[in-house]
Symmetry: C2
Subunit: 368 residues, 2 copies
């Protein structure tokens, strides 16, 4: 008898990790990166009021956070024009995706996503024994019709779509998503990952009735709000689905200071507007640096730019390695044929100066 007696599912799971963190690479190379522009973090940071709120909350860190996330849910509800029972809060979108998959997906259940889309969602689906059906990107964007066709074909319980998309940076209008929703096969739930929605043009976020049971929308304080290290995500859904999370979630999982920080960050929309300006400028500069070096930046509605390097996966992989050797952390989290690309997160001027200086050298080395 093997011991401990894992479930057959747990025993079958690989010890894979969705993402290797930059710290792991830093330990391997024996020094920190000088530019950390690979994990789509927001180097412009959270509202100073959020930082103040989190620092002030340390006096009360001996107390558990409110397991109902009452104040934050109420503020989010007001912000989105819904009621608090439409909102559930969790340990980042990663945590919420895990709970959602747990609620819906058991061994053999069909799930549809795009090939190359967010791997942590796939990690959860595999972790609960679901069967992933992947459709290719079309023109380097997610393909709503292909997702719909595959959902119908497989009887999928769940379809994942990120809008804007990571890792491509592409986006569809909210109207396109609405049309997808209207054509979902019966019994299929759309999990719409809007992690980057704040960075996108007006009209990108889905506009839908708060009680619409066909979709759950994931949002986060990790991207535009600049609080990735705090771990605060939330979902907007019909009340019945939002309440179902209470059956399985870790009720006391939220960091008390992070709850206070998210509340303060949400209240400071001026800071958010400021950061979105910085992000837009950084995107433009990354695109210009790529173009100057003969590469093709893809349009982005996110806080990163995906760059088509015009070669194959080998060139892109070599570039990531060359950048790392020069102290610059970027990633290439793509499936073929998008793995001809690299992904560069928005950075401050010094980060992008380093990028501009390194890219010609990295290209020469990777090609040579």
């Amino acid at each position: 008898m093997t011991f401990p007696r894992y479930t057959p599912l747990a025993a079958s799971l690989p010890a894979t990790v969705p993402f290797v963190g930059p710290e792991t690479q830093e330990r391997a190379r024996g020094m920190p990166f000088r530019a950390r522009i690979g994990a789509n973090e927001n180097v412009f940071g959270p509202s100073p009021r959020a930082i103040d709120a989190m620092r002030a909350a340390m006096d009360a860190i001996w107390m558990y956070g409110d397991p109902e996330n009452h104040d934050l849910r109420r503020a989010l509800a007001e912000f989105h024009g819904v009621s608090p029972d439409h909102v559930t809060v969790g340990e980042g979108i990663d945590g919420l995706l895990g709970y959602l998959v747990r609620l819906l997906i058991g061994p053999g259940d069909a799930v549809v996503t795009s090939d190359g889309a967010y791997p942590t969602f796939n990690f959860h689906v595999a972790g609960y024994g679901g069967v992933l059906h992947k459709v290719p990107y079309r023109d380097d964007r997610e393909d709503p019709q292909a997702l719909l066709d595959m959902a119908a074909q497989t009887g999928a319980k769940l379809v994942y779509l990120a809008n804007p998309d990571n890792p491509m940076g592409s986006w569809h209008s909210g109207a396109v998503i609405r049309d997808l929703l209207d054509h979902l096969p019966e019994g299929c739930l759309l999990v719409l990952d809007e992690a980057y929605a704040e960075c996108a043009p007006a009209g990108t976020a889905l506009s839908v009735a708060a009680d619409d049971p066909r979709v759950i929308r994931m949002r986060t304080f990790s991207k535009a709000y600049g609080m990735a290290g705090a771990r605060v995500g939330y979902a907007l859904a019909a009340p019945e689905l939002a309440a179902a999370f209470n059956k399985v979630r870790n009720h006391f999982a939220m960091n008390r200071a992070a709850q206070a920080g998210a509340l303060a960050a949400l209240a400071d929309q001026d800071w958010l507007a400021h950061v979105l300006g910085e992000i837009a400028a950084a995107r433009d500069r990354i695109a210009a640096i790529a173009t100057e070096n003969g590469l093709r930046p893809l349009p982005s509605a996110t806080n990163f730019v995906t760059i088509d390097c015009g070669g194959g996966a080998e060139l892109a992989k070599a570039l990531v390695g060359e950048f790392a050797a020069m102290g610059i952390f970027i990633r290439m989290p793509f499936a073929a044929p998008q793995n001809r690309c690299i992904r560069v997160s928005c950075g401050r001027a010094p980060d992008l100066d380093a990028l501009a200086e390194a890219l010609p050298k990295a290209l020469a080395a990777a090609r040579g």
Copy 2:
């Protein structure tokens, strides 16, 4: 067809919550408690160095925390005289218990615990479809022999034991736990919850070879280290079991500031010793207050005191209500026959002054 299509297990789960937080009661009564001594939090708080470290970490809160928890795991390993591959870190013991249950327990699998023991463990077991077999306390303590007998009888995959115990405050020597371990039925894993171990007399924590595959020990920064709101727990286990958590855990779930705070808290053992003195003094005072009022305090190796009120559940429940009406938050998280007790967490002098003032009135009102 019901929609969304939950798994049969998820559909069957009740919408119960392991614990209602004090904030929920505060909202219901329209004002905060003046003494929060009901959730076994540590009002003496974390090391000032931990607070400083968490405040300093806010400058980098735009970055995700290290998903490997490398530095914290290394420090914990050194502290416990094991290697880092014996340590896994998670979102409190609650989070780690959830991952452990997920790894081992599927529908119908037998799990053994004590009737009245930690409800969040039971929440996870039910949440994964396990079948809980509960044995009664014996002389108001957990009963190792009854746990062993029930494990053998049911073919349990997992036995839960908290030492010291919550909610009783009682404890067994590490030698007793070691003896239990040596008599575990084949194929049964002991999950030893040592959340309160730092508060207990020397010799209470289990001493066992680091590679012993029969037990996993849970520890936390929420109790003696005073960081409940930060959400940092860890488990000590054989490397194979510790690594299995990587298959299912939320790799990016840890708050970056909390990682830094735990590291600083661990390094400040002088503060821990100071707090343990405060806890011991508060325990003595709670016991004296109980005795002065004709009640019987139970011996405690934790940061709370369980008080036998000498009546039935009705009296204990009425007392909790009377205390709440006077602005004092305590709990009675017991199963019969221990539900004749109330549980009071250690507090500062003003908290215990309030307790001393309120208890005679609460008793008179509850009895009258």
